[in-house]
């Protein structure tokens, strides 16, 4: 029982770590792309103003 619980805890820990790592990488790449790109856009709630 203890072994099973231990395995489950390990698996849960691993999945969470993987997902957190994935989210951090994707968030960083999104930040990178936003930082590098300089498009001018508008639509929906945003409007160009000049």
């Amino acid at each position: 029982m203890n072994t099973k619980l231990g395995k489950l805890a390990f698996l849960g820990n691993r999945v969470n770590r993987q997902h957190v790592q994935l989210a951090i990488v994707i968030l960083s790449l999104a930040m990178l792309i936003l930082g590098i790109g300089a498009p001018s856009d508008g639509g929906g709630a945003t409007r160009i103003k000049f």
Binding site: I36, P39, K49, F50
Partner: protein, 196 residues
């Protein structure tokens, strides 16, 4: 937003390809990831965060954007072995060149800006006005490296329209490639590769 769409489409394409080949989807593992938020922070203050943007003097803000791009260039260079990253680097260098040549902001002509949602007629444009986060209105004849400015208009999609620079086109292609292609080889020292 248009560049984030390219990134999302890359993620979707990469995930679908991985499923097609019956293997888990893996994202690239960039080195020195901390450099991204560190380099992006000055730009956040100068361009993206309205509260901070109001506090930063225009001269300082015009310096912060190129400085931020140099930091991001360092990150991209350190990760140039990742598929797609060299394409992103080309886009970054092109945007950096035109931004530095035009006083720290991406130029857009009144004629192009007037075709974006909310844009005024070109004759109402005041040169030097900031539009959007990182762009500035400049007449084509006053723009240095005009070929690298925001000049490629996308079609109107449900009321959304964007003007891109040549550098942005490379960045969009690179962003897609980054997440659509699988990393070259799994790193044996990092068994906890991010997979979904």
């Amino acid at each position: 937003m248009i560049l984030l769409v390219a990134l999302f489409l890359g993620l979707l394409a990469g995930w679908c390809l991985a499923r097609w080949h019956g293997r888990p989807y893996r994202v690239p593992e960039p080195k020195h990831l901390w450099l991204v938020p560190a380099a992006f922070a000055p730009q956040l203050a100068a361009a993206y965060w309205p509260a901070a943007r109001a506090l930063v003097p225009p001269m300082v803000a015009a310096t912060l954007v190129p400085v931020s791009l140099l930091g991001l260039l360092a990150f991209v260079w350190l990760n140039r072995q990742i598929p797609g990253m060299p394409v992103v680097m080309v886009g970054l260098v092109l945007n950096l060149m035109v931004i530095v040549a035009n006083g720290g902001w991406m130029p857009i002509s009144p004629e192009t800006a007037s075709q974006l949602p909310g844009g005024s007629p070109p004759e109402a444009a005041v040169t030097g006005t900031r539009v959007d986060e990182k762009s500035i209105l400049l007449r084509a004849e006053d723009t240095r490296l005009e070929i690298l400015a925001d000049r490629f208009l996308l079609a109107d999609v449900a009321g959304y329209r964007a003007a891109l620079s040549l550098g942005d086109l490379f960045v969009a292609a690179g962003a897609f490639w980054l997440l659509a292609s699988p990393p070259r080889a799994p790193n044996p020292q990092r068994s906890e590769n991010a997979e979904i």
